[in-house]
Symmetry: C2
Subunit: 343 residues, 2 copies
Amino acid sequence: MHKLLKSGTIALGNEVSISGFAAVGAKKEGEGPIGSLFDLIVDDSYFGESSWEKAESKLQRNALEIALKKAKLSPENLDTLFAGDLLNQCVGSAYGLRDFDIPYVGIYGACSTMAEGLILSALFTDAGFTRHSAAVTSSHFCSAERQFRFPLTYGCQRTPTSQWTATASGAVIVSRGSSSPVKIKSVTIGKVIDYGINDISNMGAAMMPAAHDTIKRHLEATGTQVSDYDAIVTGDLAAVGSELLVDSLLKDNIDISKTHMDCGLVLYDRASQNVDTGGSGCGCSASVLCSKLLNELAVGKLKNILFVATGALMSTLTIQQGETIPAIAHLVQLCSNIEGDTQ
Amino acid sequence: MHKLLKSGTIALGNEVSISGFAAVGAKKEGEGPIGSLFDLIVDDSYFGESSWEKAESKLQRNALEIALKKAKLSPENLDTLFAGDLLNQCVGSAYGLRDFDIPYVGIYGACSTMAEGLILSALFTDAGFTRHSAAVTSSHFCSAERQFRFPLTYGCQRTPTSQWTATASGAVIVSRGSSSPVKIKSVTIGKVIDYGINDISNMGAAMMPAAHDTIKRHLEATGTQVSDYDAIVTGDLAAVGSELLVDSLLKDNIDISKTHMDCGLVLYDRASQNVDTGGSGCGCSASVLCSKLLNELAVGKLKNILFVATGALMSTLTIQQGETIPAIAHLVQLCSNIEGDTQ
């Protein structure tokens, strides 16, 4: 059974499996380096709806439906949904999932939401509070830009350290059982960390200290080392935050330079896709997880990874009031059962 | 140990206790019928801060500090915090609790947040994921009015069905053990229910169907009847929603007319306090729980109650886009160990 190793770090039993997952994106995500791994790409940024917010809700609905289908389950099989997003009052999730008739736990972790949902799903599964559950999240470039920054039609120039909010959703079904190729082995719940950054166009830097704290706490609590993992995948520090994280952990004698990967740098091709320092948004790490990462774990190409999604917890109002940016990073350890090609 | 009775309804073991709780409020809450039961009343609506949002964060900080003190615990003893609020991106909680250095699970359930946090705290405790944890939430009349409705200085007239957002916070410490006078015995996670109401000045009516659904599912899953409980306490349907709920449940042959109480009707005196149909906001049900209800359970005046906090999950944007209001109600069963005066 599970064991509480230290506050927030829990080693799970051997029965918490991922039975289905799906990534949904829009045109730009489809054109990126991992676009072909998405389950659904829709070129219309409205997804056939009358607003970007309704489109975002539809992204979540589609992702959950496809994940359920891949898991050979129907909505009635799910005991609980864990979902949230960046929109004010998390309406992407509440409206997107309201027709599913499933007990619903609304969560808010900004861009760390997928990891937060996975942690809750994994713990509920381990304890037997659910037989099957799902973690779902999304973001939409257009709904995020107008809520957090400027109306798109204003044509505002972007700063060099800015990131591109992914128009994407990811859904993961977590089930009790040992037959699935991917398991969740342990989790570390993030702490709210604020190192005094107040530039909302430099989220990677603001979120980096939270990733540092969570990775360090996880390694200490589990007694593992960086070399025990194929990859330590943050999401989404992008170019600036990633470089800072590697340097920062080195000062604690933790060298992730060979092991680190960032979802914000995986989703898009920075050289050709005009995303400044990389991707961001709840949908960024969620869709990278539900395309590239889980596919590679499912065939054994990846064996043992730490998925460390980061989130910035400010609002436009707190920034206007001169506040700094608190951040959080939640961690999930994912392992493959498959003896595959490790290249 | 615990038992999953039905999707979302879990009967807990006998070890999930409430070891501390605190309610904090402002002038109006202090002048209400249960004001004397609050742990702290501050007359200045800014709580000594420079904005209402910072004041709201301080409310949460104060509530958690007092609850910890009453539980004879320090922050290091808490394995996880569950917190959220109504402000965009839940900043009341992230900023209010960022200095505590405790693993943090951000939640969003609108005015149902206290029940959602208690559910997670209770389940984590039962499973052994935490030894001690806390559920915290808040609302502030002034920060809510300007975010959801009109700037206060505009002096807009309120509609007769409107509710008054409480300036209040509640914090509950949940611990493993059987010596505390109040225990959490079972929980039912709410579903997102949308019956097509789109009047944001009539939240009680919008949230009522969610309360109906959760109460009905809980009674069915646990095989209990209304008469098994001293009180079924909703929060915060206020006058309109409460009347609708009693009528609506009667159609399913569930008569709560003698057993029902609503936090929105307990916190203020409608006759003298100019709150229209009653109180609302995350802080309403949270502070009524952490003053009147838990105090009465702790001395055995209440024996066995259902705390059913309701939340409306819309945003101003979804309403502007012509959407209806999805709602949710989360339920926690609280029992007293004390042989007290039942009057």
